[in-house]
Point group: C2
Chain length 485, copies 2
């Protein structure tokens, strides 16, 4: 395919994508396929000779679309949102066209420098303390990671290295292995599984800190496990606080936890993967109070800030902590400018070496929506979640299971877990909307997350009427069965 | 921006990208900017109100392009190629439009299933042993990682977990920490820095195995370090063999190394990040002989197979080894089908949780080029590297520093490292072409990598004449200075 054909096909693809997103509402949100559906639909191996674009293009509807879960359908209320917007799609086209690999400043200065400045823009939007910004000569700064999992892992590894070095300088008789064996990381019992995974990868112990009855970790809970572990000779070194937990969007109490971490010399990382985007609205910024005690902070514009996946924003107060943990410098990656204070080589900030020009997406989205446009998007979602909450509250068969702070509503039928599992199965089998569940303590709970950029009040009403009707049907048979037993 | 405006702007962006790539030759391959160039060119913070697409669009040439290193210029001979093709760009547009996050089968079945089948296609193209393929009920299979660094890390972590479990089942008295302290990984002294980094992250020792005078690791060299380390009570558990090293594209001797690893119960991972694409040509497939002894194998279609970054293909013989190392299963990620043998939840195969629909790129590229089209691309690059090699060999001031097997030529002026550093500086300061250096033992060497999809024989001739002229100029002054001293 040459440039001339690309011009033609590219424009067809633009129209296809525009059509897809404009009419996504008409597609069934969750596919009908069974595992293994795709293999029989395509050849056993790659063709020897080229196929035409038309051949490939017509297979999109035939092979791909029947198996797609439509994350941008206004009937998609599962997981958390995956951001999508037209400015971000345009920026990604440019990113692909330039196709640079920005592992060092020299590998494409624009790729590195735009990222640094965009993370400053974004940091200012959520009113991060100055120390997290790169500015012209700051010690901190931001980086785009692929996912919150990577940000957590990077923070944990940086903390591990820092702690080992500190302890070895105080007690040179201890080996690295001995120290490693005593390190402990902590996170809420509500934290994302990626925190446990980071500890698993980093080969350190991790302990859950019990959350309170609002599913938040408070200072006294952390204090208690720290005291026990220190008494047992362990070395606490890392605490991952969560703002907006995955099960129910609860918030750990940073203002209590931060001072404890600082006093105990524990790296505090804040995972605000979903909730972080809301902090661009002044009325939600208080949820981030206490970030000043943290060493690193992360949230995902690719969840809720209209920047397509992947764009996970991470800031650190001391970039030297990250770089110190990873820097390895072979000759083919060295370049003339690297000793300059102005130069950032992002490969030392992340797991992969290569990286795409992802900051273009931030640049396009922040400029073409403006802060106000993005605030509007966040506020709309939060209004809609409260709308759903009110509908649930008006139906006394149901209960709300956690405070609705942002765009997630946790709810369930009053009754057994089996009853709620049956309700969820009815909902997802009907495939008019799509939800996923969570556990809150012993309770099986349904999560209703406002996801799509184009979801409106009518979709919420429809979803609720649908759920309510299925509940009515279910309760009828359920009571009969229950009666018979 | 609504869909109607996206249709308009998307088409403009398609034309911009087509123009950029069509006329890239006219742009200076390496930018003139100094560190910190970008910040003064843009605002201090994000705008409150939306800006127009036009405003953003005109800044591409004003702010971004002056700082871009043009990886797809036919005058770019640095690092290794970054793949780019029009079919891949089209697929990425579709990927962005669908915008699903495929962490589990249910999160978008097409995303998972196409990936599994595409990795089978690709595995067959390089004639991987059957065990590495997923097929309908295989124990192995492939996955797309973001980079070779991640593939190496995942392999090392899987090997670590497997070894610890094995040893603990034999000697339950040993703690995990004790075992960890004795584990050792190995790689060639020519291996990529990401191998050392993987060991650093995984908190295990790593040792270099000395390469021979062709920069390859042979069996006896590995045997020697293994024997020494085992005698010292260490536990060898992981060997990363490199096919196509970054400095000079040398090849470790799999047929000698593989049986040793198998006998010693050492996980053998093969990193063929760059070279792997060449194995689709029957005349280069012999370089992969011995892969049958490996546990995992990785190469980067995003380097040399015309699939835009990121697409790093990794295969394992036993998928249970990966999954066993990472599987954590919170309720919100569980789904109805997950116990089925047909279902792959790729989140257990990688570091991040989220993932884009990257297999679309493979599907588009493999079909629209066909195996023959891709073979042609590889063969053209290798022809051009030999063309450059011959030009160097005809000039007795220069020497070739390593066998030219694929698309990389390592060369230098006969003489001191300082002389060659001066030559490289002249080349990169002139900015007509772009190269990076490497060290081969004590020698400072220039790397000439065939990179661009559109590079032709005329560009090679131009590059050589330019280098040759700069060498003439340099040698003149160099001899004078040398004479004066």
């Amino acid at each position: 395919m040459d440039a001339a054909e690309f011009r033609k096909r590219g424009k067809e693809m633009v129209d296809y994508v525009a059509d897809y997103l404009e009419k996504i509402e008409k597609r069934q949100v969750f596919p009908d396929v069974e595992p293994g559906y795709l293999r029989p639909l395509i050849a056993d191996c790659a063709p020897q000779d080229p196929e035409s674009f038309e051949d490939v293009f017509k297979d999109i509807e035939k092979v791909i679309m029947p198996g797609v879960t439509h994350w941008h359908s206004p009937y998609f209320f599962a997981y958390f949102p995956a951001a999508s917007s037209f400015p971000a799609l345009l920026a990604d086209m440019l990113c692909g066209g330039i196709g640079c690999v920005g592992f060092s400043w020299a590998a494409s200065p624009a790729c590195t420098e735009l990222e640094t400045v965009m993370l400053d823009w974004l940091g200012k939007m959520v009113n991060l303390p100055e120390e997290f910004l790169a500015g012209k000569d700051g010690q901190g700064g931001g980086v785009i990671q692929g996912s919150a999992s990577e940000a957590t892992l990077i923070a944990l590894l940086a903390a591990r290295t820092k702690t080992i070095r500190q302890i070895q300088s105080e007690k040179p008789e201890l080996t690295e292995t001995e120290i490693m064996g005593r390190l402990v990381a902590y996170a809420s019992d509500q934290a994302h599984s990626s925190v446990e995974r980071a500890a698993l990868i980093g080969a350190v112990k991790i302990k859950n800190v019990p959350s309170d009855d609002t599913f938040s970790v408070c200072g006294s809970a952390l204090r208690k496990v720290l005291d026990e572990d220190k008494a047992a000779g362990l070395i606490p070194f890392f605490f991952c606080a969560t703002l907006g937990t995955t099960p129910c969007c609860s918030f750990d109490k940073l203002l209590e936890l931060g001072p404890i971490c600082n006093k105990e010399n524990i790296w505090m990382h804040i995972d605000a993967a979903y909730a972080g985007s809301a902090f661009i609205c002044p009325e939600f910024r208080h949820l981030l109070d206490g970030v000043e005690f943290a060493d690193s902070f992360n949230f995902n514009p690719h969840k809720w800030l209209l920047v397509n996946f992947d764009c996970s924003a991470m800031w650190v107060k001391k970039r030297s902590d990250l770089i110190g943990a990873f820097k390895l410098e072979p000759l083919y990656l060295q370049h003339h400018h690297q000793e300059s204070g102005l130069v950032t080589d992002y490969r030392h900030w992340q797991i992969p070496l290569g990286r795409r020009f992802r900051s273009l997406k931030l640049w396009f989205v922040l400029r073409m929506y403006g802060v106000k446009g993005l605030q509007e998007h966040i506020r709309k979602h939060i209004r809609l979640s409260h709308q759903f909450e009110h509908l649930v509250l008006q139906d006394e068969r149901f209960e709300i299971c956690a405070e609705v702070v942002l765009g997630l509503v946790c709810f369930r039928l009053k009754g057994s877990n089996e009853l709620n599992k049956a309700l969820l199965k009815l909902i997802n089998d009907a495939k008019k909307i799509h939800l996923v569940p969570c556990n809150l303590r012993e309770k099986f709970v349904l999560r209703f997350a406002i996801c799509s950029r184009t979801v409106e009040s009518t979709h919420i009403k429809f979803a609720w009427q649908h759920i309510s009707q299925l509940a009515t049907d279910l309760l009828k048979t359920w009571e009969q069965n229950h009666h018979q037993q």
